[in-house]
Structure formats: C-alpha cells, structure tokens
Subunit: 196 residues, 2 copies
C-alpha cells in the first residue's frame, strides 16, 4: 500500500527474531516517533561497518586495532579462549569469568556446509599459541555437533604445542530440572561428573 | 565496550518488543551481514518521514495526498470508519471487511493523560460527515476504557448529523475459549448476543 513503509518492513523483517508482523509494528513506531530517532538510527547504521573492524590479533569486533582486550596489560596473556564468532567475545567478557585473551575462529568445521579447517582462523591460532607462550587453550565452542568436531580437531593440532587444551564443561544448566533435560545433556553431565 | 555497537544497541532497544538482549543480537547480525543491508536500511530510515505524510482528508499514512483510499472511486463514499491511529487503517483495510473510507482521530480521549476532544481530529470528522453525505459512521476504536469514552462522546456529537453511528462488536474472539475469557469480555458478549 505505502511503498516506503513496505520497503522498511521488508528490511526489518530480515533481522533475527523479527517476523513480518513485528516488523510492521516497528516501522509504524518509527514513523510515529520523532524523525530524530529515525535519522540517528540511520546514521549509526550507515557508519557501522566502517566504525567496527575485526581485531588483527584475535578477530574480535573493535573500533581500535588491536582491540582493547589484546592491548590490556592487566590480562593473563598465557591463556587463550577460542570462540566461534566475534560476538561470543562479548558474552564471555561480560560474564567476568575469564581474564585471558581471545581467539575468534570465524566459524566451525561443518563438512556438510562445505566449511573446512582452511576456512577458519586456525593457522593464526597455532602461531599465536607458539609465539605468545600460551599455557592453556580453552575451547569455548557451543556443545553442538560442529562445535564438538572443531574442538576435537583443534585438540589434536594443539597437542604438539605443549599447551594444556581444555573445553568448557557441558551439563545441566543452573536452575534446570533433570526431568526436562535432554538425553545427550544428561549423558554429558554424567561423563563430566565431579568428585566432591 | 564498543561505542558504535553500544549506540546502535541502545537505539534498537527503543523499538517496540525489543529488549537489550535481542537488540544486541540484531546489532551483531547487522554487523555480520553485508554492509549493503545496513546502508539500505539506513537510507530507508533517513527518508521515511519525508516520504510518508498524513492524508489531508482522512489522516491515514500516505505517500500521495489525498491517499489512495480517499481517491478510490470504487469505494463506498457514504460510510466512514473512525479509527484511533493511522496504522489502524492498514489493519482494517487488509482484512477486506470494509469498503468505505476512513477517518483517523489521532488518539483517544484520556483525561488522565491530559488528552481532550480538542486534541483529536473530531471537528474535521463532523464536517466530513455533514459535507460528504455520510450514511453510517462505524466507530472502530479498541474496546478499552479510553476507546469506550471516545465512542460515547462521538456518538452524542454525531446524533444531529442524521448518520447512523455503529461500533465494532466486542465479545469472544474466534477460536477462543470461554474458560480463558475475562469477565468483562464475557459480559460484553452476553450484552451483545445475537438472535439466531
């Protein structure tokens, strides 16, 4: 009916978790809000890819290169946490559980999708582990088929470097319920059980 | 952590139904998608308020003035459907249940929020009903306190015009369940019961 609105709705509906209906609600909300909001949002979007790059050391998103985490001398430089995607760095960093540095693979090994080891930042990881005197490599991929495959592959490759290779524990989520836990998760929580 | 990203997340979180977490997911999605998408979205947003105006006749959103609905000679010009907001026109028009014209009030009477009849497009509605020879005015506000108040007010005002004044039926939603229907809705469905 209204072309400019329809084009906006179509674009907004491409965002994750946004269907045609909520995209419509968003578009009308933007239209009814002051034009300043739309202009500000437009400006941020237009400049986004120019403002944010991948860190040339770890691959995380950053406005400065190397990124603030790689430049932070207060961090433990002997531990590297390997993650699948650049946004995983933010999730882990905000949990304040980890104080070392990161390495972004840029994906997971997925033969069915044609993604092999050469498509990931694995060579760089190996050279970092060797050159930076890394003591421990924490593999923090998701516990999925591709995550497991990639972790196994990296574990073998990293054996010669002398660094310890660990993987995030997989099991019952805190606050979860045995009754609603799937069989695979339950199996992992048994295999990974801890002596008290 | 990353300013450009944080600014974008803050802006996206202002959209209806979008929390801080889904705004983050959207921002990263945009960042990982081709810059073309961000640029296109930016362009649409920047031009939105300029491209879309309110129709000078009915108040609906439109790119041309008067809007295509007001200009459509195939429509029944003797019936006006009165709605609260400009986006309600789209909802009703897409249902294909109504083939007359619209009138957007631009809000509802809400004394607690300081919105009185003078803040709404009520004078224009009256003059349209008189000048356009309207036979029926359908009040299509939501069945809320403000919607009811506004409907009652309009009903009294419109009495002298000679036009029939009707209101959309309120009752059980199709596919709904008596058990899960609130008392007020049930009460309305009783009062509005239809002889078969």
């Amino acid at each position: 009916m209204i072309n400019a609105l329809d084009r906006l709705v179509t674009l907004l509906a491409k965002l994750p978790g946004v269907g045609k209906k909520s995209a419509g609600r968003m578009a009308y909300h933007i239209l009814e809000t002051s034009p300043d909001y739309a202009r500000e949002l437009a400006r941020e979007l237009a400049g986004l890819h120019q403002a944010i790059k991948h860190c040339s050391v770890c691959g995380a998103f950053t406005e400065t290169d190397p990124c603030p985490i790689c430049m932070d001398s207060g961090r433990d430089t002997s531990i590297i946490c390997v993650v699948e995607r650049a946004q995983d760095v933010r999730v882990i960093d905000e949990s304040r559980e980890f104080h070392g540095r990161f390495h972004v693979l840029g994906g997971l090994i997925a033969p069915l999708e044609g993604i092999g080891p050469d498509d990931l930042s694995i060579g760089r990881l190996l050279s970092r582990v060797r050159k930076e005197g890394i003591r421990e490599v924490i593999l923090a991929m998701n516990p999925t088929l591709e995550g497991d495959t990639t972790a196994l592959y990296l574990q073998k490759l990293l054996k010669d470097t002398g660094a310890d290779v660990t993987r995030l524990a997989s099991g019952l989520p805190v606050g979860g319920d045995l009754e609603y836990t799937d069989r695979l998760t339950l199996s992992r929580s048994f295999r990974g059980r801890i002596k008290l």
